[in-house]
Assembly symmetry: C2
Homo-oligomer: 230 residues x 2
């Protein structure tokens, strides 16, 4: 398969790579003029292309075929998880991107310990791009702004999303894929507080749990997402 | 919840911690006499206990309650995956343990690039123990000996396991949980060769694939395991 690159403008028949994408093509993969590449814009368009010109910090390609597929927004999956510590956040975002989650929202809860610094969250865009290049996904996973649980629950209610609250101790079977917009809530180490669980219940959240195990944040996010995605 | 420790002999009413487990209790968590702990042997027994004596390299406890649950061996899940590079192997083993996979087998295929060194595989036992302590699982995930694909397929056939071959490009829906022994096969970067896919088909393997994405080894292992586990 041809190497894949992110290119935010695929409307031209001479799409350009710049910045880190150009660097990756020229200096890491050492691609040459005449080689085939694949370009994606993260919002549904994928182009087959051939490298025409390599300049100092730009690669100019010629699109030979372009396809666009509208994203299915009816069955979206948002994962709102408290950011796990250290590398685990990056790892989680990589995996959620590969699997096809639509949006990741850093969730703020009463027991959250990691304050997601803006600089750290900004870097996740690079992680998402790398995971898309590797996995061949067509649509970009969005990284939402950090949100508190009450605001997020209100937002889900307003948009009529099914709310799934991962909460250990409850013996419910993990939920299978179902239709409609869904938001999966993953709490911090130590879990949601009782008042948070009650608040979620007041917003019609359904509790889900993994049998016989207390999963880490990133494991819960990936495992439940894998079960919920079609 | 009380801190959990691995103890391979829970037959005595005075179970002992030694080695790294004693070190963890005394020097990391700084537990004292009289404190409650939970002990597990990884083969079905869990004991509630109280620390009675702390010696130089041993912790002696008194079991106050013991429970044993026989493992359900009828619906076992074995994940046979080519060991991914670097930290990804450790990460994968941690997650498979948390989720409740029964056995991980390092798989050797035609395109395998990482030769699983014995020292590296030996260290996975520590990863499994740590993940059990953290997640509260009762049964240990076994780490099998590295196996070639032909031998593993023959073994699955002999033991009447359902064989599930993760192979991108095929549009099959990811398989839901089903009964009986199952072995999930995850190939290397670059995938199984055509002759390997044919060999698996000759052994009645069913192909499964993740829609619209080429998953990394560890992502595929975790995501398909999450879908297959009950």
């Amino acid at each position: 398969m041809a190497d894949r690159f992110f290119c935010d403008d695929l409307t031209s028949d001479k799409p350009c790579l710049s910045g880190t994408e150009a660097h990756h093509a020229v200096h890491v993969l050492r691609l040459k003029c005449g080689q085939s590449i694949q370009l994606f814009d993260g919002v549904g368009t994928v182009a087959e292309a051939v490298i025409e010109d390599i300049q100092r910090a730009r690669v100019i390609a010629r699109a030979t075929a372009t396809s666009f597929i509208q994203k299915d927004t009816q069955n979206s999956l948002t994962v709102a998880a408290v950011p796990p510590k250290g590398d685990r956040l990056k790892w989680m975002v990589e995996k959620l991107t590969e699997l096809g989650v639509d949006t990741y929202v850093p969730l703020l809860t009463e027991r959250s310990v990691v304050d997601p610094r803006k600089s750290k969250l900004d870097k996740l865009a690079t992680t998402v791009t790398a995971a898309m290049k590797q996995s061949g996904r067509r649509w970009r996973m969005e990284i939402g702004e950090p949100q508190t649980l009450p605001l997020l629950l209100q937002h889900c209610k307003d948009s009529d999303d099914t709310i799934l609250l991962a909460h250990p101790g409850n013996a419910t079977e993990p939920t299978e894929a179902e239709a409609g917009g869904r938001t999966l809530l993953i709490g911090p180490e130590g879990g949601f507080t009782e008042s948070e669980v009650q608040l979620a219940a007041d917003h019609n959240a359904r509790q889900i749990a993994w049998p016989d195990s207390i999963l880490r944040i990133e494991t819960a996010a990936i495992a439940f997402a894998a079960r919920l995605l079609r």
